[in-house]
Amino acid sequence: MAENSLAVAQRTDTTNVETTRNGKYFTPRVDIFETDTELLLLADLPGVAPGDIDLRYENGELVVQGKVQPHERKGHLILGEYEEGDFYRVFQIHESIDSARIEAECKNGVLTVHLPKAEAAKPKQVTVKAK
């Protein structure tokens, strides 16, 4: 029960809208996967060109920021189901990450970030010898 309500609370968090001086910020939806060698983050940033993404990693925090270029629209709105705005989200990363080898690419409005684990954090197989 408690777990259920926690999951719902997280879901509403993802569609959070925050108003700042510079306009509206949306929390992008993300998938985060962990493999033996890396953390993989996929974020939906529709309308953000690859050059308008500001991605930073410092002190165990990954900051994703994306700007949507304003698009001129003429005429009047007859059906409005979503709002447009910039994206912003911060992630705390507990795994030790090799920050020099972080790689990111953005394609079709999806940002992919590869965060390779530092050598020390990778799982090591220990062979057990028979006596």
Binding site: F33, E34, D44, R73, H76, L77, L79, N108
Partner: protein, 143 residues
């Protein structure tokens, strides 16, 4: 009964408040409340052109089908495939995957041969010109 005899708000403010209440009830009565249709669309009308926009991050043009039927039904159909790496632990899964289809009834017939659709940075933009037969024709008035 009391209302009909004594109404301190029988003025514009009261009408405005009632209108606001109506708007709010309509908002909660929307058929898609809670289960929003996907993708969400914005539609603009600019003279003789309709502009339809939808956010479809991660889709490529070959995963997407757009067609106009009966001159005024626009259908957007597509599929987003999951990109899960093998043998991975899933920390968060917030993005949606799978196939979708959505049909919109347009406010006027459109010229289905001149529809222009673009997909840029995960945003779909469709331009649909009004059908020749639906355009207003100016009728000269003779003196």
């Amino acid at each position: 009964m009391f209302w009909t005899r004594f109404n301190p708000f029988s003025n514009r403010v009261w009408n405005d408040l009632q209108q606001l209440q109506g708007e709010m009830f309509r908002w909660f009565d929307r058929p898609h409340w809670g289960v929003a249709a996907f993708p969400a669309v914005n539609v603009w009308e600019d003279g003789d052109t309709l502009h339809v926009e939808a956010e479809l991050p991660g889709l490529q043009l070959d995963n997407l089908e757009i067609f106009v039927t009966g001159n005024n039904q626009l259908t957007i159909k597509g599929e987003r495939k999951q990109q899960t790496p093998e043998k991975a632990f899933e920390h968060r899964l917030e993005r949606h995957y799978g196939s979708f289809v959505r049909t919109l009834t347009l406010p006027f017939p459109v010229d289905d041969r001149n529809v222009d659709a673009r997909l840029e940075n995960g945003v779909l933009r469709i331009e649909l010109p009004k059908h020749e037969a639906a355009r207003p024709r100016r009728i000269p008035v003779k003196a």
